[in-house]
């Protein structure tokens, strides 16, 4: 019965909302709600305090568009303001908040007056998510719109001060998902945020300000948040790491493998604590990821061992070339062209590491060999520079000998002349 009344009231309120969208930046319409609440104490004043920041107010909407009631009531006349006949609902029921927001945000006709590109499927997506499903089942503890977007001072997503801006989203999710008390009831872990903060993605986002770096919603979705299933993790990572994802798919198709058994990216790279790959991961050493599944005696084990050894050799030869060229430069030789060429060889390390995802030893070795060729060229260039340095020093030695001979000759000649011309 209560629910029916609530729905009825909501419907009534919805027909009261026909407010025309005002151009952005126009001042919020004068409203008794705001002026009255601004004078109250404590929590009652909170809605009015944020009115100026709120994107809805800035677009010309006001309190009554969500809460109902009469914004034009006389000041201090609470009953007139909170008039149920004018659709007053008070604080909306928590479970019904998604529908409340969707009244506008799922209305394509209404929203396109504000922004022709804006999406109107948030509620539909939400319903597919764990949050949405549990909300529909009556769980009041799961997130609804206001838990992430804020209640009264709602800012657009693109505003860096918004709680769902990429630089702040992870904290917003973590406010529940890192809370042991909350997550215990669902049996969910709470380490994701801490793990994410150690990751290379977090470093790119927070330290370098790279908004292309992923945060929670880039992998999990914004409204349809689900943990990516076994099948979709690779698709998710692959939306940026296209090469690696393509290689995986090629490998599966070409060799008829079922890589599901390895849960793709996550097994080697983790899902939240994604760190830059290291040379140790390849091969059969203690820190290697290959040996977590492949045991000694497997053909894969041998392949991993060979690939690890080849990568190590490439690294060593590149370091040798780099060292030689740096020493030559310090000794005064000009090696910038050779250093540049070495860069190309160094990029082969990256290429080889990407080719690990093809699980094709031949392709990997081809990249390593190409890198080794470049490294050997660098070593040869370094040796050439030192040869030239030796030649210069030899030339110097010869010319110094000649100069010494000249000096000796001059000294003897001077002495001879002195003997012949006595000083007056």
């Amino acid at each position: 019965m209560r629910a029916a009344a609530a729905v009825l009231l909501l419907w009534a309120a919805s027909s009261a909302h026909g407010a025309e969208p005002k151009p952005a930046g126009s001042p919020p319409p004068p409203s008794t709600c705001v002026s009255c609440h601004a004078e109250l104490d404590g929590a009652a004043a909170e809605p009015a305090a944020h009115a100026a920041d709120d994107v809805h107010f800035q677009k010309g909407l006001s309190c009554h568009d969500c809460h109902g009631g009469n914004p034009a009531a006389a000041a201090d006349d609470i009953e007139a303001a909170h008039d149920e006949k004018k659709g007053w609902v008070g604080k909306p029921a928590r479970l019904g908040i998604p529908q409340l927001c969707a009244r506008c945000h799922a209305d394509a006709e209404f929203m396109k007056g504000f922004n022709p590109h804006t999406r109107v499927d948030q509620l539909a997506e939400y319903r597919t998510s764990v949050h949405g499903k549990r909300n529909a089942a009556g769980d009041e503890r799961v997130a609804v719109c206001v838990d992430c977007h804020g209640v009264h001072g709602i800012r657009p997503v693109s505003d860096p001060r918004s709680s769902v801006h990429p630089t702040r989203l992870a904290e917003t999710c973590a406010s529940c998902h890192a809370d042991k008390g909350r997550m215990e009831a669902y049996g969910l872990p709470t380490t994701q945020y801490a793990d994410y903060k150690t990751s290379v993605h977090a470093a790119a986002l927070y330290k370098n300000g790279d908004l292309g770096a992923p945060t929670c919603n880039d992998c999990h979705g914004s409204h349809g948040a689900v943990p990516p299933g076994v099948g979709s993790v690779a698709n998710v990572c692959g939306s940026c790491h296209g090469r690696e994802a393509n290689l995986f798919r090629e490998t599966e198709a070409k060799r008829g493998l079922d890589l599901d058994a390895c849960i793709r990216c996550v097994v080697c790279h983790d899902n939240h604590a994604v760190h830059p790959p290291t040379a140790d991961m390849l091969g059969v050493g203690p820190k290697s990821t290959c040996s977590t599944c492949h045991a000694e005696g497997d053909p894969e084990y041998r392949a991993a061992k060979d690939m690890g050894a080849a990568a190590a050799r490439l690294k060593e030869r590149l370091a040798a070339a780099q060292g030689l060229l740096e020493r030559a430069e310090r000794a005064g030789m000009e090696v910038s062209a050779d250093s540049f060429a070495l860069r190309e060889a160094q990029e082969k390390v990256v290429e080889a590491r990407v080719l690990v995802h093809s699980f094709d030893e031949a392709r990997f070795m081809a990249a390593v060999d190409s890198g080794l060729a470049g490294a050997e060229k660098g070593v040869a260039a370094g040796r050439r520079a030192f040869r030239e340095l030796r030649q210069r020093r030899l030339g110097l030695g010869v010319s110094l000998l000649v100069i010494l001979a000249v000096i000796a000759g001059l000294v003897l000649k001077a002495r001879e002349l002195d003997r012949k011309t006595p000083s007056p």
Partner: protein, 140 residues
């Protein structure tokens, strides 16, 4: 041979040797080297015809990698090949007719503008001149 004449000969010869050791480097120095001038703002990217239409190649321009692209219609374009995201070297994708960065799937169009992916800025574009069968790329 008197001592004096020996000394004169010795002094003369060693002075001559010293003069030679000065004049030889000077003579070599003033002889123009194979490449007559520093390639500063200009670089020879390729010979005309080396690159087929709808193909691209990376070459060295000063101390940076640069990308020479030959359009499907035959004209040449050149860009700084350093991706504006995290500085990987970009490459030309003939299948997509776009410039691609393999590191994080960034795409640029043939004007260097970002089409998709994380790169924040367009690629710097260079001027290309084709003369005497050479494709020369310059910064201005």
């Amino acid at each position: 041979m008197t001592r004096r004449r020996l000394l004169d000969w010795f002094l003369g010869t060693s002075l001559g040797a010293m003069c030679l050791s000065v004049l030889y480097p000077v003579a070599r120095y003033v002889t123009p080297p194979d490449v007559p001038e520093a390639e500063t703002n200009r670089a020879l990217a390729a010979r005309d015809g080396e690159l087929k239409p709808n193909d691209g190649r990376v070459f060295r321009f000063g101390s940076h990698p640069a990308l020479l692209v030959r359009d499907p219609d035959g004209s040449y374009k050149a860009f700084d090949a350093t991706c504006t995201h995290l500085s990987c070297t970009v490459q030309y994708r003939a299948d997509l007719k776009q410039i691609w960065c393999a590191c994080h799937n960034g795409f640029y169009d043939l004007s260097g503008r970002v089409v998709s992916g994380p790169p924040p800025r367009a690629l710097e574009q260079y001027t290309v001149h084709v003369a005497n069968g050479e494709v020369v790329v310059s910064k201005t």
